[in-house]
């Protein structure tokens, strides 16, 4: 699908009418957030499905933040940091690069499609790369459909139980 087609994709998704993917993006301050800023100042277009959370370093992105985003209803999570060798804190992104494969492995075992979790390096100069990444990620999550984790867990009794009465004699 061409970029323009992605940008003009129906607001109402083919998968679930009226549904729009909600993507949480964790961007490091020094490279990737500036890259997103770059995309903005260059007036590059990308879908408004992404909610950006700026952190000081991708090494600060505790994997728990990623899980929490999904647990609270995100359809996808995007993690961006400086390219290896460019970290403002020298080795912050070295931690990220070791953590993300483990996050990916855990998410796969939890039945979350690989399309929903994207980890990419974006430098301060790569506005176009960021815009393209958001377009691509949004489209691939649109294809896999809504995740809706909170409802899923609520339906299984998490936090309140199921309260089925096995004998039903009012005991």
């Amino acid at each position: 699908m061409a970029d323009e087609q992605v940008l003009h994709a129906e607001a109402a998704s083919a998968v679930v009418p009226g549904w729009e993917p909600r993507i949480i993006a964790f961007l490091c301050y020094w490279c990737s957030y500036t890259g997103a800023d770059n995309a903005g100042t260059a007036r590059l277009k990308y879908p408004a499905n992404v909610d950006i959370i700026r952190v000081m370093c991708s090494g600060r992105i505790d994997p728990e933040l990623i899980m929490t985003a999904f647990a609270r209803g995100a359809d996808g999570v995007l993690v961006c940091g400086c390219h290896i060798g460019d970290c403002h804190y020298l080795a912050g992104n070295h931690k990220t690069m070791a953590r993300m494969p483990l996050v990916r492995s855990v998410l796969a075992d939890l039945g979350i499609e690989p399309e929903r979790f994207v980890h990419e390096w974006v430098s301060a100069a790569e506005g176009e790369k960021f815009a393209q990444l958001v377009r691509h990620t949004t489209e691939q999550i649109r294809q896999v459909g809504p995740l809706n984790w909170p409802k899923r867990m609520h339906d299984r009794g998490v936090g309140h139980g199921m309260d089925l009465q096995p004998w039903g004699d009012g005991r």
Partner: protein, 329 residues
């Protein structure tokens, strides 16, 4: 709480109860591990319900007045309608409800079943197991009509829940099982009426740091160039297991056990619940491991962490029901 006994008490002794839900029975045994102290406990308290050790029926509990039981130690997670019903019943009948052991607090080992579905579990247990003799493919059903009337079995829930998913919990004692010296410390406090202020699931019977804090092994500040499993090599004594490439849950596990496993040359299994400030133990462990990898390229980092066998089963061995995502989709 004090030692005046419950509303229905006749002899002034504390009324204690213990129940097992989705658990193995090790928690019940751990209570016996306090040894001769048990006699001191019996001096001060009457057991009014303990399926593992005493012959009380659910009906006996249902007939107690509300709040009759002073302390109920509840072990095991909630996987069936029977377990939830008894959890609700015991909550109603107990002044203090304690989640006892890893399963009641975090789901424990049984919560690893949250990585599969009830249908898949039935398929393996009743159809696929090699040792099975079930030619007619019989499966249990919750309701069955017989000539003598309807028979009911408890329903299997979609996934393992924690006790606090179902009812309000006052205290929690971690461990798989809780260690005897910690259990005795808590029981002494109960008998003396010196329990900490009641709040939402206060963790007692443990310390408040990580297992690393009480681990006798030395950290040499070296980075990890590869991971091994415990059957593949013998760890060097006295040196941090994680630094030697053996996965050890110490950094993401609460202290209080006395670093039992690491003293036996085995990586911490991670049974003593989360330290303060940690919500999701698996991700805490991923965070810790990511910080000690000896790699400067992405390929090398992926290669090293790729050597960790079964990351989800290892990092969430005891805590899947407490994790952010709780189980498989």
């Amino acid at each position: 709480m004090n030692a005046q006994g419950g509303t229905g008490a006749t002899n002034g002794k504390l009324k204690v109860a213990k129940y097992w839900a989705s658990s193995c029975g090790g928690c019940d045994i751990s209570l016996l591990e306090v040894g001769p102290h048990l006699l001191e406990l019996i001096e001060a308290a009457d057991v009014v319900f303990w399926p593992c050790a005493a012959d009380f029926k659910y009906d006996d509990v249902a007939k107690y007045p509300d709040g009759y039981i002073d302390v109920c130690l509840f072990n095991g997670g909630v996987r069936s309608s029977e377990q939830e019903e008894i959890a609700r019943l015991l909550r109603k009948k107990s002044k203090t409800l304690v989640a006892y052991g890893a399963c009641a607090i975090d789901g424990g080992i049984p919560a690893l079943a949250n990585l599969t579905t009830p249908a898949e579990i039935y398929d393996v247990v009743y159809h696929q197991n090699p040792s099975l003799d079930n030619p007619n493919g019989v499966e249990p059903v919750p309701v069955f009509q017989t000539a003598h009337g309807e028979l009911r079995l408890p329903d299997l829930y979609p996934q393992v829940l924690r006790l606090k998913d179902v009812v309000e919990v006052d205290y929690q004692i971690p461990g798989c099982p809780p260690q005897a010296h910690q259990v005795w410390k808590v029981l002494q406090a109960v008998v003396a009426g010196q329990v900490p202020a009641r709040n939402d699931a206060v963790t007692v019977g443990c310390d408040d740091k990580a297992v690393c804090d009480e681990c006798p092994r030395e950290r040499r500040q070296v980075r990890v160039g590869g991971f091994r499993r415990s059957h593949q090599a013998i760890p060097e004594p006295g040196w941090c297991l994680l630094e030697q490439g053996f996965v050890c849950m110490g950094p993401a596990t609460r202290s209080g056990c006395g670093a039992l496993c690491v003293k036996a040359n085995l990586g911490c299994r991670g049974c003593y619940t989360a330290p303060d400030g940690v919500e999701d133990r698996g991700t805490a462990m991923i965070g810790a491991i990511g910080s000690i990898i000896d790699a400067t390229t992405e390929e090398r980092a992926h290669e090293i962490v790729g050597q960790i066998a079964d990351p989800i089963g290892t990092f969430y061995r005891f805590s899947l029901a407490s994790s952010s995502l709780k189980g498989r989709r």
